[in-house]
C-alpha cells in the first residue's frame, strides 16, 4: 500500500532536532518506508540528519510518502504528531 499526504509543519520553531527525533522514534516500530519531499528534495524520514537537513520552518508543506503494509497506521500516527505540534504547542 502506498499513501501520499501533504502535512504542514505547525510548531513555531519548525523541524528542529527535537521534532526530528520524535518523528524517527514514532516511525521506528513501522515496517513501511517513509519519505518526505520538500522543495524537490526527497529524504528518508527514518534518518534524523536527513530531516534536519531540510531545515523546514513553520508552515512548510511536506509531501509525506509511506509505502508498505502498515502505511495506514503510520500515516495516522504521523499526522497526529504533526497536528499536535510534536507536543511543543
Amino acid at each position: 500500500m502506498k499513501l501520499v499526504r501533504k502535512l504542514k509543519v505547525k510548531n513555531r520553531l519548525g523541524l528542529h532536532t527535537r521534532p526530528a527525533a520524535a518523528i524517527v522514534k514514532l516511525l521506528q516500530p513501522f515496517k513501511s518506508s517513509v519519505s518526505f519531499t520538500c522543495r524537490s528534495e526527497t529524504i528518508n524520514a527514518r534518518s534524523i540528519m536527513s530531516i534536519l537537513m531540510l531545515a523546514a520552518k513553520k508552515n512548510t508543506q511536506l509531501t509525506v510518502t509511506i509505502e508498505g503494509e502498515d502505511a495506514a497506521i503510520a500515516m495516522e500516527k504521523l499526522t497526529a504528531a504533526f497536528e499536535a505540534e510534536f507536543g511543543e504547542g
Binding site: I43, N44, S47, I48, M49, S50, M53
Partner: protein
Amino acid sequence: MYLVQHFYDQHGKSLGLDLVTGESGLSKRISKAEVHRPGLSLAGYLKGFMSARILVIGNQEVEYLRELEPTVATTRLRAILTPTTPAVIVARGCRPSKELIALCEKGEIPLFRARLMATNLLSRITFLLLEEFSPSVTLHGTLVEVFGVGVLIKGESSVGKSEAALGLIERGHRLISDDIVRVKKKEDSNLIGSGPELTRHLMEIRGIGIINVAHLYGAVCVRPDKTLDLVVNLEEWDDRHFYDRVGLEEKSIDVLGISVPYHLLPVKPGRDVVLLLETIALNHRLKKMGYHSAKEFNAKLLEVIARKQKKGTSYEVGA
C-alpha cells in the same frame, strides 16, 4: 530554474560584476551553460547564432562598435540582443556604448561590466554554468574516503553505516557526508559527492546522538567533496543468500548514467566491517593499477591445470 539573479548573487562578487542597467531583467532565465563572444555576429553574420547564451563583449567588439556608424551599430546590436538573451557582460572594465545601454534598458536585458578580460570571463563563466547545470541526485548513504578511494556506504537504516564510517575515521580515513550525499555528474564521466552545508561533518550515532566529526577528530578527518569510486551495500547476513566467494564477477550499479563498481557486504557479529571496507578500497586501487587478484589467480590456476593435462596425456601415450 536558474535565473540571472541567482548567478549574480552567487558569482557576481568573485567575477567582479557591476550591474549597469536592465535590473528588471534579472528575473530572466539562464537555460544554457554557454557563453558567447559575438565577434562574427556583430559583423552581421547571424547564421547559427543562438540567442539563449550570455554575451561577453570584449575589447575588440567595443572598438569595432565604436568605428561603426551609430545607426549601423544599433542595428547590429539589436540583431543579437533578443528577448531570450539572458545577460550581456562587457569585459575589461570598458564603458558600454550609449547604444548598448539604451538597447539593454529597453529590452530589459541585464548589462554588466567586469574587470576581467573576455577570454578569462568566457572560461570562468562556462565552468560555473556547467557546474550549475550538471545533473545531480541525492542518495541515502555515507560517503567516506578510504585510502584515497571514495566509498559510498549504503544499506538499511540501523545496519551500521555511521558506525562503520566512525571506525574508518578513527583509523585515519575521511568523512565527506553522513546519511545524505549529493552526487553531481561532472564532465560526463566523473561523479562527485558532497554533503549538504547544514549537516556537513555531523553524524548521528545511536545511543550517543549528534556529533561533529571535524571537532572531535580534527580537520584532517573530513573533506568537503570526493569522487564516487565505489558503492558498498551493507546488509544483515542472510543465510539463504549466496555471497560472492571468489570475486571474479564484477558488479556495478548505475548512478546518473555512469556505472560504479558495487559490492554487497554482509554484516554479522564477528565480522570487522571497518577492516573489510578498507580491504575493498585497497583491492579497488590494486585493480585500478592493473592487478586483479581473483583473475590473476584464476589465470595461474588454469595454466597449472593445462600443464598437468599435457603431462597426463603424454604419460598415457607412453604407457
